[in-house]
Symmetry: C2
Subunit: 106 residues, 2 copies
């Protein structure tokens, strides 16, 4: 079993992904770098909220930014989140398949 400290680190990481706003931002940026205006347009959240969430993700190293004059271009490199989501998706899918089989056999 992981040490309590490491466990806490895991939790903080998973917490970042546990909020639709943040995960959506990451997924958007995985498609390619975007500026904040585009993220507002894509997600519908307020500018201040997006700024905060990006700040959290940046501190965790999940996104990075590059200033282009007055605008800030954000991007998300690394396939970690993709891999995590893929694993979870497989799990969710298998779970639904099992439930379906249960219903059909009944």
């Amino acid at each position: 079993m992981p040490s309590p400290l490491l466990l806490e680190e895991y939790c903080q990481f998973f917490r970042l992904l546990s909020e639709p706003a943040r995960l959506q931002l990451i997924c958007q940026l995985r498609a390619g770098p975007m500026d904040v205006a585009a993220l507002i347009e894509a997600t519908g959240f307020s500018q201040s909220h997006i700024s905060r969430q990006l700040g959290q993700l940046q501190r965790a190293g999940l996104v990075s930014c590059e200033r282009d004059g007055v605008r800030t271009i954000w991007s998300a490199e690394g396939a970690l989140v993709d891999e995590l989501c893929s694993l979870v998706q497989t799990r969710l899918k298998r779970r639904l398949e099992n439930q379906l089989a249960q219903l059909q056999s009944a």
Copy 2:
């Protein structure tokens, strides 16, 4: 990019892992089936709290229980959480290594 509904599912899943109490329960159970008394002893949480958290994890299919008379033996099958934690750990490790390199080159 994943559909909003799927994204929400991901978030709910990650939320389960974002709480030390729950992740600790899973990790404990990954070492082998245990009864509730042992989980109380191992985690220090109250019985009612543990019962609630196990309920959430069970609904998500992350743990399962088997009644042995009056006692309930809980277990966590499937290496999904192990894999997720392993991926995150690798990420955390690499991030620290990079920060260390930054400091040493400065």
